[in-house]
Amino acid sequence: MTETTRSYEHPGITDPMLDEQAPGTAAFAKPVAAVAAGPAAEKAACGELSSATVDLAKELAEAGIEDVLRELDEELIGLAPVKTRIREIAALLLVERVRRKLGLSSEAPTLHMSFTGNPGTGKTTVALRMAHILHRLGFVRKGHLVSVTRDDLVGQYIGHTAPKTKEILKKAMGGVLFIDEAYYLHRAENERDYGQEAIEILLQVMENQREDLVVILAGYADRMERFFSSNPGFRSRIAHHIDFPDYAEGELLQISEMILAKQNYKLSERGREALERYVAARKLLPHFSNARSIRNALDRARLRQANRIVRSAGQVKITADDLMTIEAPDLLASRVFGQQAAASSPLSNESEETFD
């Protein structure tokens, strides 16, 4: 393992020139020497090891994951169980890293994960952070995230799926492959579905190239459960199952304030009250997708605010403050308030876009 890492730092050809042996024998001689030295060296190392001390704090600082975890705490609102779990995983990986340095573990740990939760609960965002954490700790080499769905993995005709899946896997190597709504890969009703082919390739790579790639599956809890029970291979290859809870109303308000602050907007006092009412009302409607619904609502509020300002442009002077402030009417104009009664009837089956 260390040898591979070293050769990354020096991608030049140095040692073969010094090696006087023929190429064939050189390749054979090395492992033999290693095996011969193996048990003896191991014994000697064990004696030293038990007394060897490790500066875990220094390791932690070196890895710089404390920053990532702090960012996670600051920028992601709520999600307490998820954060706890990520801290646990990070701690485990840090210890694993130290153990590896001391030669106590040789196998790459299984890092594949499954994120379950309702839409808009931050699965993709956390996956991106996860890629950072894994990269900082040296468990993935590049730390990029490749986010895909069924369409990117499964082909449309025979022989199309394998190259497509492999192409994506190749792209994701050295980083994290995030498969959103992974259960669509498996279509129980159609046994000739090409999804099965993609699943087989995925499983193979997940098992054989654990050090090259981390796979994160994501989707709704109940459907993921069904997916795992029909593909037991996946469940056994996934080490961490993380459940994302829905946001509470207070958390959604915090999120909206954060979204607005990022775009240099703010809520007026009345606007905040209106938003509170909006969140409470929107939660009851169908197709509520947590933070995503809130973000869409805020986008629409900005639209109405802009419209309001433009209409009033002739009569009053517009200040910077006016341009930044979202007022109550911008939110109260939403059809969510009108729909509240209708939503309780089973006939109401409107998509999110209609709640304007």
């Binding site: 591979t4 991608p11 073969p16 896997l169 190749k170 190597m173």
Partner: protein, 139 residues
């Protein structure tokens, strides 16, 4: 006769770890890495068969090593080379190319002398293996 084409060809064959490091070097420079194979090793044969597509969007050499393992499985008895293509304006050409696989036996090239008028001789070389049709060489 050991074929010497491309970079590093006068060194002992690169190990997989070294190939991986070179591939990573190409990727880090933004060059598309490609695998090509042939059983016609004449130096003027620049058109080798391509294994799959150019890998222009990979971030890690592990992907190339995976393809190389598969290419070796199918065409392990032929020459395989890795090339790094730089698409930046002004370069638009292969920046690095080296052999990553060679047949077990390399009979080499024969020298052909063609008598011409006035006792002059025209020389050319031909790989012994190319006497046989494509796909049946290096067996």
């Amino acid at each position: 006769m050991r074929l010497t084409q491309g970079c590093f060809s006068f060194l002992p064959d690169l190990t997989d770890a070294q190939i991986r490091a070179q591939a990573q070097y190409c990727i880090d420079h933004g060059w598309a890495v490609n695998l090509e194979f042939t059983d016609d090793p004449h130096p003027r044969n620049t058109y080798w068969e391509m294994w799959g597509l150019p890998m222009f969007d990979i971030k890690d050499a592990a992907a190339l090593m995976m393809e190389l393992a598969e290419c070796r499985k199918v065409y392990g008895d032929r020459y395989i080379r890795l090339s790094g293509f730089d698409s930046t304006h002004g370069w638009e050409s292969v920046r690095l190319s080296f052999l990553v696989n060679r047949p077990a036996q390399e009979p080499g090239f024969k020298l052909i002398r063609q008598e011409r008028e006035g006792r002059s001789v025209r020389y050319t070389t031909q790989a012994y293996e190319t006497d046989r049709p494509e796909g049946q060489r290096y067996r």
